[in-house]
């Protein structure tokens, strides 16, 4: 279900089914990784995990047309340490993301959905999306404060 190819700066390298269970699997993997990297600041952990869960949730909910079989939905999560924080990529084999990230706004307090990407963007120091060779690639950057 998951594999790890850890170098010194690699915190996570996971291949997961693009399904809701991936969120808990990734969350568990983060908690394990913190024990091996205890010096990653609490604030960085909190913000990075929050953003990762929002992007993973978005991929799982929105990246696939309903007719794509569950076993054909795959995502990868890679997280690396930098001198000052964490950088991660989340990639999936779903359909292209149709929105412009710069248009994403936090909805009003009554909304029951639509906060995920705005929240991820607000807690990160960088959030980018690219379509690369038929895959969606999200890049998340979080610096210590």
């Amino acid at each position: 279900m998951s594999e790890s190819t850890a170098g010194d700066d690699t915190l996570l390298a996971l291949h997961l089914p693009a399904a809701p269970e991936a969120l808990d699997t990734a969350h568990d993997a983060f908690e394990e990784a913190w024990t091996e990297h205890p010096d990653v600041a609490d604030d960085v952990r909190l913000r990075f995990v929050m953003a990762t869960m929002e992007i993973l949730g978005n991929v799982v909910e929105h990246a696939y047309a309903p007719d794509v079989r569950a076993d054909g939905r795959r995502l990868a999560l890679d997280v690396t340490r930098t001198a000052t924080g964490l950088v991660g990529t989340i990639s999936d084999n779903g359909q292209p993301f149709a929105l412009d990230l710069s248009d994403v706004a936090m909805p009003g307090v009554d909304a029951e959905s639509g906060r995920g990407l705005a929240l991820a963007r607000d807690v990160l120091d960088g959030l980018d999306y690219e379509r690369v060779e038929g895959r969606n690639v999200w890049t998340l950057r979080c610096e210590g404060r």
């Binding site: 969350h27 949730g57 307090v109 959905s113 929240l119």
Partner: protein
Amino acid sequence: MIEIDVRTERDIAVVVPRGRLNMVAARELRTTLTRLIEGGSTRVVVDLAETTFLDSSGLGALISGLKSARQAGGDLRVARPTPAVLTVFELTNIDKVLRPRADVEGAFDV
């Protein structure tokens, strides 16, 4: 993984999500709140003291419960959020409509 406990104290339903309130758990919370409110328990306190993580879908489930409770003539309140959960409330301005209470017992006092 999450466990959602429900108990009733003086006509107020107390809902306790234990663990991560993520996309999977949010569905369960939404169902729990809907059942309670449709069953006539329209005054609900969600005790967040043991909720270690909250994402936008968990927040959506709380907002949905808040609206349903109010439509049914009651209310939904949240109590004792952990620092991680409080951060999400503040970042999304939800603390303006769902003001976190210091304890479960007094959540409906004011």
